[in-house]
C-alpha cells in the first residue's frame, strides 16, 4: 500500500491537500492518542484520514462513536488519563455533546483536549447554520480558527500544546469552506510523546460534579478564563498589521479573512487599511484591539453568520471609552456564507467607494438558463422502494400518513416524486416528534429513521414509545451503513473505523430489548415490494408502538465494495411500453429516462428490478 502524502514522515515536504486532511495531519503531528467522533458533513474526512494514517502508525486509538456526546466523552476520558485527545463533530453535533461540554470546561483538560466543530454556513448539508463560536463564549472555552490549509494544520497542532499549558479544553472551529477546500501544505514534524504515563488522574474533586465540587470548579474556570484573556494578545496566529497613517481598521478571522485579504488586494487598499487577523476568536485580544481602535476612526469587522466579534468590539470600545465607528453586519450579510464578491461589495459600501466589480464583464442576462439539478435518491436506492410502498399503501388503504423523519439520505424523500417527508428537525427527533404527534393526530403516524441515526439518538425515542404506549409506527430505513456522509460503519455493521472487526449489534436485538414484541416487529427486504407492502398493511392495521425494519444495503456502497459484480440492467419492451410515464413520474428512478420521446433505461441502472413490478403494462423486465 502506497503511503498517502499526509501520512509521510517527511517534514518540509509540500503537497496539495483537503482542509480535513490537513486538520487530520495536524492532530496526528501533535501526537493524538485517542480520537473519537461521529460522521457529519463537513467534518467526516478528518476521522477517515486519521484512520488512514492509523494504518501506518497504529499506536493511537481511533473510533467512530455512537454519537457526538459519546465521542466527546471518550475523548474527555482519555484527557483524564493525561492523553492527547480529539473529538470530531459537525456544528450540530456539538449540540448533542453540549451537556458534557458545558461542564467539562469547568474541569478543563488534563491531557491536551481539542474538540473540532465544523460549522456549515449556507446549510450546504445541514439543518441549520448555527454559529458555534457562541459555544466558546457560553462555556468559556477558547475557540481557534484558521485562514487557510497550512494554518489549519498548524493551529490544530498548536491547540494541543495550548490545551495542556492552560489545562483548558480548546474548540477548533472550522467552516465548510475550510474543511472542503484544498490548498498547499508543508508537512511538519511528528511529535514523539514517549515517556508519558497514561493513567487515570485520580483528582476526584476535579472530575466529580457534585454541587460542592462544581462551585469550586466554577471559580477555577473563571481564573483560567482570565489567563486566556490576557494570553489572547500573544496568540501566535493572531496578527495585528498596522499601516502608517491608516485611519481605517479591519478585523477578521478564518476563511472570511482570506476574502478580506484578497478584497484589499483587488481594491489596491492593502497599504491604506490596518488589519487584525484573529487566530483565537474567543477570548478576543483586547490589547491589540485597543491599539487598532486608538489609531482608527472607523473599524469594519468581516465575519460570517452572527456579529460575534462585532458585538465584542463594540462592548470593548465602550468600556475603553474610545470614540470610533465600528461596523460589521450593516455591510455584510448575516445568513449564508460570504465570498470574495460579497466581501468586496460590503467593503466598498463601508468605504463609500464605487465597486469596480459590480458589473460582470460579460452580459449574461439574455443567455439561456441551465435547468436546476435538485438532489434525488440514487438510481437503485432501496429507500425509493420503501417510500413507494408507503405511498402505494396510503392509496390502497385510503389513509394519509404523517411522516416524521430524521437526518439521512431518506430525507430526500421530501422532494418530487416521493413527497413523503412532513417533518425533519435533527438527528434522532423523528420518533420523539412522532410520539407527540400521535397523542393528538387522527391517523397513522410514522417515524422514518435510518440505521445509523437510530443508533445515534433514536433509541430513547423508541423506548419512550413503548413505555408510554404511543401509537407510533417506526420505520427503520436500514441500508446497513452511514450512507449520506459517505459510507461510515456503525454498531450495526460490526466493522470499526480502522476496518477491523468490532462486535455487531443487530438492530432487531435493540428493538426487542426496547420492549417491541415479535407481533409488533416486521423485517423486510425493501426491494421486495410484495413483502414490504404487506408488512405496512399489517402494521397500519394494529395500534401501539410497532417497528418495521426495511432493509437493503446501500446500492452505492455495495457497488464500491463489489466493483466487479456483474449488473444486469432492466430493459423496456417497446411493444408493451405505452410511454405513459407512470414509472418516471411516480417512481422517479433516475435510470429511467426519456430518449427520443421513448421511456428508456440508461447506463445508471443497477438492476434492482423494483420498477419491473410497477409498470401497468409489464413492459419492464430483467435483461437475460
Amino acid at each position: 500500500m502506497s503511503r498517502p502524502f499526509y501520512a509521510l514522515d517527511k517534514p518540509g515536504e509540500k503537497g496539495v491537500v483537503l482542509g480535513n486532511d490537513a486538520l487530520a495531519r495536524g492532530i496526528f503531528e501533535a501526537g493524538v492518542i485517542v480520537a473519537a467522533g461521529y460522521p457529519g458533513t463537513p467534518s467526516t474526512e478528518i476521522m477517515e484520514t486519521l484512520a488512514r494514517i492509523h494504518k501506518f502508525y497504529p499506536y493511537f486509538e481511533i473510533e467512530w462513536s455512537t454519537n457526538e456526546a459519546v465521542g466527546f466523552q471518550v475523548a474527555l476520558g482519555a484527557s483524564m488519563c493525561n492523553a492527547r485527545a480529539f473529538a470530531c463533530m459537525k456544528h450540530v453535533g456539538l449540540n448533542v455533546a453540549a451537556d458534557t461540554f458545558m461542564t467539562a470546561t469547568y474541569a478543563g483538560a488534563h491531557g491536551g483536549f481539542v474538540v473540532l466543530s465544523a460549522d456549515d454556513p449556507n446549510c450546504y448539508s445541514s439543518q441549520n447554520e448555527q454559529d458555534n463560536r457562541y459555544y466558546g463564549l457560553h462555556a468559556l472555552c477558547p475557540v481557534f480558527e484558521a485562514i487557510n490549509i497550512q494554518e489549519a494544520k498548524d493551529v490544530i497542532k498548536y491547540a494541543f500544546d495550548f490545551s495542556e499549558e492552560f489545562q483548558s479544553l480548546v474548540m477548533m472551529r472550522t467552516t465548510t469552506r475550510l474543511n472542503h477546500a484544498r490548498g498547499d501544505l508543508i508537512l511538519g514534524e511528528i511529535n514523539k510523546i514517549e515517556d508519558r504515563k497514561y493513567n487515570f488522574d485520580k483528582d476526584r474533586e476535579r472530575w466529580t460534579f457534585l454541587p460542592s465540587n462544581a462551585r469550586v470548579q466554577r471559580v477555577k474556570q473563571l481564573e483560567r478564563y482570565e489567563k486566556l484573556r490576557t494570553f489572547s494578545d500573544n496568540f501566535p496566529f493572531t496578527k495585528l498589521n498596522m499601516k502608517d497613517g491608516a485611519k481605517i481598521g479591519l478585523i477578521s478571522s478564518g476563511i472570511p479573512y482570506s476574502y478580506a485579504n484578497d478584497a484589499l488586494l483587488k481594491l489596491n487598499l492593502t497599504e491604506k487599511i490596518s488589519t487584525l487577523k484573529l487566530g483565537m476568536v474567543f477570548p478576543q485580544p483586547e490589547k491589540l484591539m485597543e491599539k487598532l481602535f486608538e489609531n482608527s476612526e472607523r473599524v469594519v469587522i468581516v465575519e460570517e453568520l452572527e456579529p460575534f466579534l462585532e458585538d465584542f468590539a463594540k462592548k470593548l470600545a465602550f468600556e475603553l471609552d474610545i470614540k470610533l465607528e465600528i461596523a460589521g453586519k450593516k455591510y455584510f450579510r448575516r445568513n449564508s456564507e460570504l465570498n470574495l464578491n460579497e466581501v468586496i461589495k460590503g467593503l466598498t459600501k463601508f468605504l463609500n467607494i464605487s465597486n469596480p466589480f459590480v458589473d460582470l464583464p460579460v452580459d449574461i442576462r439574455n443567455l439561456h438558463k441551465a435547468s436546476p439539478r435538485p438532489p434525488v435518491l440514487c438510481p437503485g436506492c432501496s429507500h425509493r422502494s420503501t417510500f413507494y410502498a408507503l405511498k402505494l399503501m396510503e392509496q390502497k388503504l385510503g389513509k394519509n400518513f404523517v411522516y416524521s423523519s430524521d437526518i439521512g439520505c431518506y430525507t430526500l424523500g421530501f422532494y418530487k416524486p416521493i413527497e413523503a417527508i412532513d417533518a425533519c428537525i435533527c438527528m434522532g427527533a423523528s420518533i420523539g416528534m412522532a410520539n407527540g404527534i400521535s397523542k393528538l393526530h387522527d391517523g397513522p403516524v410514522l417515524a422514518i429513521i435510518g440505521d445509523s441515526t437510530f443508533f445515534h439518538t433514536g433509541i430513547p425515542g423508541l423506548i419512550d414509545a413503548v413505555y408510554n404506549q404511543n401509537d407510533v409506527f417506526v420505520i427503520i430505513m436500514d441500508n446497513s451503513i452511514t450512507a449520506m456522509t459517505g459510507f461510515q460503519p456503525h454498531p450495526g455493521t460490526g466493522v470499526k473505523i480502522t476496518g477491523q472487526p468490532g462486535t455487531k449489534i443487530p438492530l432487531e436485538s435493540i428493538i426487542r430489548g426496547a420492549g417491541i414484541t415479535e407481533d409488533r416487529l416486521w423485517i423486510v427486504d425493501s426491494n421486495d415490494l410484495e413483502q414490504t407492502t404487506r408488512a405496512i398493511e399489517e402494521a397500519i392495521s394494529v395500534k401501539g408502538p410497532r417497528v418495521l425494519i426495511s432493509r437493503h444495503p446501500c446500492v452505492l456502497f455495495e457497488k464500491s465494495i463489489y466493483r466487479d459484480k456483474i449488473i444486469i440492467p432492466v430493459q423496456i419492451d417497446p411493444e408493451k411500453c405505452n410511454n405513459c410515464m407512470i414509472c418516471i413520474k411516480n417512481f422517479g428512478c433516475p435510470a429511467l429516462t426519456l430518449y427520443d420521446g421513448k421511456v428508456t433505461v440508461d447506463g445508471q441502472c443497477t438492476g434492482c428490478g423494483v420498477c419491473i413490478k410497477i409498470c401497468p403494462f409489464e413492459a419492464i423486465s430483467l435483461k437475460e
Binding site: K266, A370, S371, R373, Y388, I582, N586, P616
Partner: protein
C-alpha cells in the same frame, strides 16, 4: 507523441509570458465524472510550478447526478479560495449546461473548453406539464377519456396492484377540461392530437436548453472557446472516464495558464488509477494535440 511532447517543453513553463500574479480556473460538471480530480491535478501541477494553491468546491447533496463546481486559484499572492465573478482565466466544462451555468465567472478572454455532452436532470422529465386554453376548450371530455394514466387510475390497481397513481390526471370541471397534479406529463394527448379544438399545449416547467443554443451562448461570451464531444473521444480512446483528462490535455496544448504540459502530464500519471494509466496518457496526448491545433 510523448517524446515529442517532452522535447518541446521539457522544463517549467515559460513564465515570462505570464505576467499576472494569480490565475483562476473553474472545473464544472456532474458528480462522479472527474471534475474534482481534474481540479486536484491542476492544483498539484501549480504547486510544482511554485505557486500557492487554493481550491473550493460546491456541490449538491446527492452522491451523483448533481452539479459540481471546483474553483481553483493559484499564484504568488492570494488567500481566498474563490475568485471574483468575471475574473476567470480558464473554464473547463465537462457537461455543457454546467458550462452555461458558470458563465457569470467568465470574461471575453476566458479560455473555455467545454464538452458537448449532456446530462439531462430527471427533474426536467418530471416537470413536463400541459396547458389548456380556456377559450378553445368546450369540455367535451375527449382528452379525459383518452388519457392512459387516468384510465389506470380509474382501474384502481386492477391491472397491476403495484402501479401507483396518486389521483385522476384530469377532469372536466365547470365545463372545462382541467389538468390535475397527477398528470404524468407524458403529453400523449398532444402527440396524438386528441383535442378537436387544439386547446391542449405541452410545456416544460424546467427546460434543458437545446445544445446548439447553449453552444451559441458560450461562444457569445468569450473569444476563446473550444467545444468538442469529449465523451465520444474518450470512448474511442477506450474509457469514458478519461474525458476529464482529454480536457486537461487540451489545456496543456493551448498554454493559456502557466502550467507546463510536461508537469501536467506527469501529474495526470500520478493521479489516475494504475490500471487506467495508459488509456489516460493516450487521452491526455490526444487532448494535447487538439490544444496545439487550437493555439491562437
Amino acid at each position: 507523441m510523448g517524446l515529442q511532447l517532452s522535447r518541446k517543453t521539457n522544463m517549467k513553463s515559460e513564465n515570462k509570458f505570464f505576467e499576472k500574479d494569480n490565475y483562476n480556473a473553474l472545473c464544472v460538471g456532474i458528480g462522479g465524472t472527474g471534475v474534482i480530480s481534474a481540479s486536484i491535478i491542476l492544483g498539484w501541477a501549480a504547486l510544482q510550478e511554485g505557486f500557492k494553491v487554493r481550491t473550493a468546491e460546491t456541490h449538491g447533496m446527492s452522491q451523483r447526478g448533481g452539479s459540481v463546481s471546483s474553483y481553483l486559484r493559484f499564484g504568488k499572492n492570494l488567500e481566498s479560495p474563490f475568485m471574483v465573478e468575471g475574473d476567470l482565466d480558464v473554464l473547463l466544462a465537462f457537461e455543457i449546461s454546467e458550462g452555461l451555468r458558470s458563465l457569470r465567472f467568465t470574461n471575453k478572454n476566458t479560455f473555455i473548453i467545454a464538452s458537448k455532452n449532456t446530462v439531462i436532470p430527471p427533474s426536467v422529465l418530471t416537470h413536463k406539464s400541459l396547458k389548456i386554453d380556456g377559450n378553445k376548450c368546450v369540455g367535451c371530455g375527449n382528452c379525459v377519456a383518452h388519457c392512459l394514466p387516468n384510465q389506470i387510475y380509474n382501474e384502481k390497481g386492477e391491472k397491476n396492484y403495484y402501479t401507483l397513481m396518486k389521483g385522476p390526471t384530469r377532469k372536466v370541471i365547470n365545463g372545462y377540461s382541467t389538468v390535475l397534479e397527477s398528470c404524468t406529463g407524458c403529453v400523449q394527448c398532444v402527440i396524438d392530437n386528441v383535442c378537436p379544438f387544439g386547446a391542449i399545449e405541452a410545456f416544460n416547467e424546467w427546460e434543458y436548453p437545446d445544445v446548439k443554443l447553449i453552444e451559441e451562448d458560450i461562444k457569445s461570451v468569450s473569444n476563446n472557446v473550444i467545444l468538442l464531444d469529449a465523451n465520444s473521444i474518450a470512448i474511442k480512446v477506450g474509457n469514458i472516464l478519461t474525458a476529464n483528462v482529454i480536457l486537461l490535455g487540451i489545456l496543456a496544448g493551448v498554454q493559456k495558464i502557466p502550467l507546463s504540459p510536461n508537469i501536467l502530464r506527469e501529474t495526470v500519471k500520478k493521479f489516475v488509477p494504475k490500471k487506467a494509466l495508459d488509456v489516460n496518457v493516450k487521452a491526455f496526448d490526444i487532448g494535447f494535440d487538439i490544444g496545439i491545433n487550437n493555439k491562437k
